[in-house]
Amino acid sequence: MKKISVHDWLTEHSDYLYRFALARLRDPHLAEDVVQETFMAAIKSPTFAQQSAPRTWLTGILKHKIIDVMRKNIREVSATDLMHDEDGNMDEFFDEAGHWSDKPLAWDVPDDALQQKQFLAVLQTCMDKLPAKLAALFLMRDVHETDNEEICKELNITTTNAWVMLYRARMSIRKCLEINWLHA
């Protein structure tokens, strides 16, 4: 009885759960893994048979699994590595007095679907170019909107360090977009 219904769930909800995970982790293999873990946790749950809204229930489990994966990813990143990786200050962007030496350009924010698609493609490329460690932090903050204090706890860094690193990540992504998208 139990077996049949979990297989029905697999057929019915696995694509949905997979997309949900993929949208947040951006890695097909990790997405498969968390969906598998979700189903495994579901079948072991004593309340499994009584779920009247399985999709909502499964999504709730999945969210926890996704956060676990992000934690693990980011824990592999030591905070000292992070600081060393991008140790350069922002001298390339500012002069001695703190004025822009590399002035931000005016972006035509893409409005039609095709332009939007191109913009997103370049944005993805720019994200991929970030040092892995910086990217992990950036994803956690700007994509998952994870709470700052939680990030810092995971990374064992101060909030000030996190702000500095996020600033660098954003600086580098916007510059990358100016070069590869605006001038393309």
Binding site: K2, K3, V6, H7, L10, S14, D15, L17, Y18, R19, F20, L22, A23, R24, P28, A31, E32, V35, Q36, F39, M40, I43, K44, M90, F93, F94, A97, G98, H99, W100, K103, P104, L105, A106, W107, V109, Q116, F119, L120, L123, Q124, R141, D142, V143, N148, T159, A162, W163, L166, Y167, R170, M171, I173, R174, L177
Partner: protein
């Protein structure tokens, strides 16, 4: 008066924390007179919006399906578990 460097740092931080009242005024005053920092702020917001859109479009794209091998693997694992 804030420099562009300081302003850009605070603009970035405004995405991560609530700025103090004093900081908010200082940033606003600088943005009024500096089009480059206004552009910078706009760029960060565009990037953030783009990332949100990217996630949403993956989530809603029903063409994206879990590979059938993965489904088969999970099915087997579930079967083993429920035995």
């Amino acid at each position: 008066m804030l420099s562009c460097k300081q302003t850009s740092q605070l603009v970035s931080q405004s995405l991560d924390r609530q700025l103090t009242l004093r900081e908010r005024f200082a940033v606003r005053a600088h943005l009024l007179i500096c089009k480059y920092c206004r552009r910078f702020q706009q760029q960060l917001l565009t990037i953030r919006l783009g990332l949100t859109r990217m996630s949403r479009s993956i989530e809603q794209d029903t063409n994206i399906q879990m590979p059938s091998e993965a489904k088969a693997r999970i099915g087997k694992a579930l079967e083993a578990e429920s035995k």
